[in-house]
Amino acid sequence: MTSLAQGKNASPRLKSGLAIAKQRFVNSVTIPLLLYESLAIFVLGWAFVLMFFEYSPGRLGGPILGLGGSNPFVGLGHFIEMVSGNSVRAVLFRTSLRNTLIFAFAVLPLNLLITLPLAWLLEMVSRYKTLYRTIYFMPVLTSSVGVALIWMSMYDPQAGWLNAILRALGGKPVAWLSDPRAGFAGVSIAMWAVILAYLWQDYGYNMVIFIAALQGVPQELKEAAMIDGASSWQIFTRVTIPLIQPTLLFVCVMTMLSSFQVFDIIQVMTNGGPNNRTEVLLLDIYKNAFRYQSMGWAAAEAFVLFLVVMIVTVIQMRVLRTRWEY
């Protein structure tokens, strides 16, 4: 009894002591964190301000962050120039925006056409599953520079394998990465070449995610459909696909996000050529900011890329979410 009474007496003091200790712990984590995050906010704010200036780090500007003076304020000038300007950089921006959209909208359906059936097939077999999965996943972990170099040697106009196959079939060799006129379906052949290399590197990733989703589909539902006389194709389209809809949404959004930000493979393989046929937004941003030192313009371009990514993501979420209501 005495101990209970003691406990009762002691509890407010103990609690407040504990509360103080907890508060001290919280403070010692959050204060450095807030300092670090204020740096992040500062960086973000700087990025936002930069796009309203004609800023180049080589010029001596005003006192605050080098803005003003010989780095003049242009307001929305960059965006107006992007839409209606005839300057070289404005035309190149529009080309790179179009190329980025072509790239992303070609990659997404092609990727799904490869990864979803592959995952489905892999789920049907009983042996060597891990072996298949491991090998399919290898390109994902390969540095994109390595991937680009491997594919560049495949695309080599003389000693490359693709032209060797073409010649063996009696076709004419193609300059895959350097012929601006050659094209297929209205898109230049160089663009298709980088798309193929990108797909090769990327499909293992989505496949593994689809495998995990397919394993989550309850076996009873498939069996029930089979008893009702559904073919395996019907089971796939009517039972499996609706059940993995959330994964499908996730994969679509992530694939789009990463293909809008494609850089490594294209920079190494073509550096935007031939004749700007593969110039994509991030590559254009990189060149403007770090080669031509035109950082205000590049910051405005980066903001456009961000907006495009946001808009496409929101649209995808709308379209795919309404489907999983029922």
Binding site: L18, V26, A40, A47, L118, L149, I150, Y205, A289
Partner: protein, 290 residues
């Protein structure tokens, strides 16, 4: 085989034939995909053992006709290419960044999961927002800051903006929420300080998610290209992917040597993957993060 089928009624025999045929077709398709995945790798490896004249031959050979190690010897003896130094550069950046993000992610994630404090929701909302902002938005001002701090061409420049990872914090919060409160309370009754609870009680519980986050972070850092290329402009401080493109541009017309360099830079990580493949694949599916 046919003897067993003979006893079955015709319809069932047909169905079994069909199933075998289907399985065979599935394996065939999967193996076709497998070859498509594997052939570029094999081509890279075989080319690296060819002489340069053979690598340039039209039509190309698949197997090296004159197996040679000269490309590897040339790279490893090249005084302008201290490969060991570049490996150390890449390892330093990857290990340092992984360690700091694991530490901050587990600590802040634990804080968000198990403590109540003012402004918690606001701070967490801020982290979720920063997860959505792509790195190329902040790339330019980050570079300008590094330039002012004289950290261009320094490996520290690759480190200072990577100490806090919003995604890691988010993931660790999810895991810490599953830990029972009794665990920490028992330690408090035993007189442990809050830091001791984090270090000795919570951290050991987070082994699996920390390993996942660590492996994925290592891969991402090891293969990073754009940001290291911007920050590391001098050759001797570069990381492996950046050095590989530089090597390629200085060895045009020598595909065998370039392929050997690619093998030396690409293969180590793939061999590591062979050992940890189950964990890595699980990690990728669990987090959906690249």
């Amino acid at each position: 085989m046919s003897a067993t089928y003979a006893f079955l009624p015709l319809a069932r025999r047909y169905r079994r034939y069909r199933r075998h045929f289907q399985q065979g077709l599935v394996y065939l398709l999967l193996t076709a995909g497998l070859s498509f995945t594997l052939l570029p790798f094999l081509m890279m490896i075989f080319s690296s053992f060819k002489t340069n004249t053979e690598a340039l031959r039209v039509p190309p050979t698949f197997w090296p006709q004159h197996f040679t190690l000269e490309n590897y010897i040339k790279i490893l003896n090249d005084p302008k290419l201290p490969l060991l130094k570049f490996y150390l550069n890449s390892t330093f950046v990857a290990v340092f960044n992984v360690c700091t993000t694991l530490l901050t992610s587990s600590l802040v994630g634990y804080l968000f999961a198990k403590y109540e404090f003012r402004g918690k929701r606001l701070l967490f909302g801020w982290f979720l927002t920063t997860m959505m902002i792509p790195a190329q938005i902040t790339m330019i001002p980050s570079y300008l800051i590094l330039a002012r701090l004289h950290l261009i061409n320094s490996l520290w420049g690759l480190v200072i903006f990577s100490a806090v990872d919003a995604f890691g914090i988010f993931m660790m919060r999810q895991f810490c929420e599953t830990l029972p409160n009794e665990l920490m309370d028992a330690a408090r009754i035993d007189g442990a300080s809050e830091w001791q609870i984090y270090w000795q009680i919570v951290l050991p519980q987070l082994g699996a998610p920390l390993a996942t986050l660590g492996i994925l972070g290592f891969m991402a850092n090891w293969n990073a290209y754009l940001w290291p290329m911007i920050v590391l402009q001098k050759i001797e401080v570069r990381t492996l992917p950046v050095i590989l493109t530089w090597f390629n541009s200085t060895h045009t017309g020598q595909p065998a040597v370039v392929m050997a360099a690619t093998v030396l830079i690409v293969m180590p990580i793939l061999i590591v993957f062979m050992f940890f493949q189950r964990w890595i694949v699980q990690g990728f599916t669990m987090t959906g993060f690249k």
